[in-house]
Symmetry: C2
Subunit: 248 residues, 2 copies
DNA sequence: AAATAATGATAGTTTTGCTATCATTATTAG
DNA sequence: CTAATAATGATAGCAAAACTATCATTATTT
């Protein structure tokens, strides 16, 4: 997929025909995102999608085997996009702490549309990932699908974040667990704030994403930094170290 | 539901007829748990269930409106059971730290069958909660269902844990978020260890549940305790601090 | 023994998930 | 510019899933 000339590659086994290369394919992507958001995954189906885009069920099936794989394709796109953004932003940063801050910012921020890809509405895709993302790998075919590399993007994304965590604290015992937890928390606490507010301190009102970012920063900072740096704390703006850096 | 003479109450709107009160109802519960575990939620349906228990589809529908609500019923049972166990175990403990340790133990441990309720196999139910639990509230009806109190048990469970967190550190800013995250992490890291091992440090081999418990304890301790207490650490036994703590 | 409630048996409806066939329209290659 | 080839549309159909309805039968309660 061409973004600023760079290609995000999605596992080829996820589709029958590359949806990005044709008008119909892009239409399938665009409207499946909108419809899954509107109807939810279970009420969404290829018949309704075909009707909406003025095509036929058979044609849609020529691109994706079924809606489960279409969902996996979409969340892969999201994960790839997030990983790309983290790589971009972190590339030229030397300070590992700043790198981690930027990564967490990306985790929460990938929602906001940046690349102008006509056929993917990142805002809506983000809502899908929040609401339905976990269903991509919660099914009886996980192991087979994992073998086919369907979750490579997610694992690689997790890996990137884990490495940044290790740069900050090489002896942190749970870099991957923290990375995946931060990714999952980002989605969960948005969802909780909107639907089950008693499960989180994040409030629907106000800047929800900013609150989630602060939450993740708080958790990450407390966990990865040896306690002498705790004084500096996580919270957002006033993250300039008033106190000199000690560690490393 | 009678366990040692105590009743776990499940929201009455979740069922048409109370499944615990009849032979058929209990058979539905027992075998739906087994079949969802075997087939996964999407391949499981009331026709197959009816066939297996030697009854009819119509009869099953007299107990539960559909399989989504049956799932919600089952995970509610699990949440209620966990909350009950935490209350029981924490009741007579005064030390808040010990209370938190016990709560985390329950979060991970509710898997292991304790109450001998003939028609609920806690081991298998736990696997269902791990693999399918999130689907209980990831659907387009959340808000309506939440209004009907379908998630009260989960929220109340979260609340219990959040209160224990606050007993340990009254100024901890994210008690609910940490509580829900611990609950979600417990499930996720078991699932990851078994299916997507690169997302966690928890290994499938060895005592998986013990590892998850140590992970949760590590996170909880680092997060809720002011750093002078870090030295004592979470994981009970071998968390002795080699390095002296400085901050505060 | 009569009334009531739960189940079984059977049937039928609508929707979903998916495949097949063939004609038509683009696209590309020679 | 035509011939080949690829993609789409149109239509059909089928098997399963997700229900609902009816009525007879069997328990249970009173």
């Amino acid at each position: 997929m061409a973004i600023l000339g760079i290609e995000l590659s999605i596992n080829e086994k996820l589709y029958q025909r590359n949806p990005q290369r044709t008008e119909l394919g892009r239409s399938i992507l665009r409207h499946s995102i909108l419809m899954i958001d509107e109807l939810g995954l279970e009420r969404f189906n290829f018949r309704k999608l075909a009707e909406r885009i003025g095509s036929t069920e058979a044609s849609v099936y020529r691109y994706f085997e079924n809606k489960q794989l279409l969902l996996v394709y979409l969340v892969n796109w999201y994960w790839e996009w997030m990983r790309f953004r983290i790589d971009m932003k972190a590339m030229h940063i030397n300070d590992p702490k700043e790198k981690l801050r930027v990564a967490i910012c990306c985790i929460v921020d990938t929602a906001k549309r940046n690349a102008r890809i006509e056929f993917i509405d990142e805002d809506v895709l983000h809502r899908i990932v929040v609401a339905e993302g976990a269903k991509a790998y919660h099914n009886k075919e996980v192991d087979a699908q994992n073998k086919d590399g369907f979750f490579w993007s997610y694992k690689e994304l997790c890996n990137r974040i884990a490495n940044i965590i290790l740069e900050n604290n090489p002896s942190f015992p749970y870099p991957r667990a923290l990375a995946s937890s931060l990714l999952e928390m980002a989605n969960n606490h948005i969802y909780f704030a909107e639907h089950l507010p008693r499960l989180t301190e994040v409030k629907e009102e106000g800047d929800l994403l900013k609150q989630v970012e602060l939450l993740l920063l708080y958790f990450a900072w407390r966990l990865v930094f040896p306690s002498e740096e705790q004084s500096e704390q996580a919270a957002g703006h006033r993250f300039n170290s008033q106190s000199g850096q000690v560690w490393h």
